[in-house]
Symmetry: C2
Subunit: 224 residues, 2 copies
DNA sequence: AGGTACAGCCTTGCGGTGTAAGGTTGTCAA
DNA sequence: TTGACAACCTTACACCGCAAGGCTGTACCT
């Protein structure tokens, strides 16, 4: 009697994972942040309300998105010493946050961590513990390290240009309508650094990371 | 002929500053973040669209809010050495961001800094420069310091409880439905630290800050 | 074979959002 | 007196998250 339009529907029903994947992809494409339920549904060839069968509300979906970003982050290996392990997972973390710029803003509004997030934290703690840190010392190290990683990435994302792009043009434009006599040090810094052809803000990350890691190494045995 | 209902209107017309003040207050009260234009207008006894006579769009209002937070931050004084000056302005910065939790989330979406923001950065740069840092060294120091401050505060704000509040209760609740055999290190850490009566996450800030400042002091003369 | 339970999806509708377009009003200078 | 003009309001639109409830194909039981 009727045709069989439901075939396609039945063939590929949507799932938590498929929805999350689409949501992440959509958020990555539009720099405007998280997609709306309606646009997300449209992308999946589905009505908006269907998504609520897989997620209790939008907040749950956001939780899932954040967790899927953590899932992309390389866990610290136990083969290397803790410093190189931390260096690698820090770079991986920063890369993931840069690939998904919406994630860092999302992170601070979510309070219930997912499994990938828990696994990540557990692995990092384990790495530091077997690297010789006490429990309290691990807490200190985690606080400084993650604080630095998130904060640096946050700053980098708020820069008014793409990281490798023409810093000269933007820097010059800022310099032009900046009252140089009112903010002399700021003007000097932009002039000296940002306009230097070779300057890449991204490299600052490693400078700070090394500073933090050196400090941790020095304090490690003092932290009982 | 008509009565004079406009008297109150004429007596206190709204201004950029009054709108900003109300917006900040409203954002502080409701933990839900930035107020909508309508609720903000209602608070001011005005219709929503009236606000657009003082701000080109909502983004401009948000810029103003962020700038007004920077205006609250204590500028580094030139009387003390750079380390204590940085320690004081860091604490002041963290306090401001804690008073206005919505600000840090807002910061990364704004790209055009206001006057108070520029003044703040200029003063910090000046303090480091006269503390003996080269231009490049100041850039490094700024990157690490601000990164740490923002990142730490971001983490602190995303904790699922009020900083001084009952960590025991929440920690215990988390511990209960956490698969301890799957995340042993995480469980150990929560058990050992968070449930300790004396533990206050806030104090972690100073531990990390001292670590960063010590590192900066050590690297200062190496950075040409 | 017939009945029933149910997961998956859709429809409708509500109260909220930012803001474009244009109307109204009080003030002040010419 | 007139006109310009800033401040403010009204209306309207397209979007948002989501509560409530309807429909339909599948699966299992008797």
């Amino acid at each position: 009697m009727t045709t069989e339009p439901t075939e396609t529907t039945r063939r590929n029903p949507l799932s938590r994972e498929k929805v999350l994947q689409a949501a992440v992809a959509l958020a990555d494409e539009s720099g405007t942040g998280v997609p709306s339920m309606r646009t997300l549904a449209k992308r999946l060839g589905v009505e908006a309300m269907s998504l609520y069968h897989h997620f209790r509300n939008k907040s749950a979906l956001l939780d899932g998105m954040v967790d899927s970003v953590f899932a992309e982050v390389e866990l610290p290996s136990n083969d290397a010493d803790w410093q190189t392990a931390m260096r690698r997972r820090s770079a991986s973390m920063r890369d993931a946050l840069t690939r998904h710029p919406w994630a860092i803003t999302l992170m601070d509004s979510r309070t219930s961590p997912g499994r990938a997030t828990l696994r990540h934290h557990n692995a990092v703690i384990g790495c530091l513990r077997s690297g010789g840190f006490s429990v309290a010392g691990t807490a200190h190290a985690l606080s400084v390290l993650d604080g630095y990683i998130y904060g640096f990435t946050l700053q980098q994302l708020s820069l008014p240009f793409e990281p490798p792009a023409d810093l000269e043009g933007v820097g010059g434009a800022i310099l032009e309508n900046l009252p140089r006599d009112e903010f002399p040090h700021l003007a000097e810094m932009i002039a000296d650094l940002a306009l230097q052809p070779g300057y890449a803000y991204t490299e600052e990350f490693d400078v700070g990371l090394d500073l933090v890691l050196d400090g941790l190494e020095r304090e490690r045995d003092r932290w009982t």
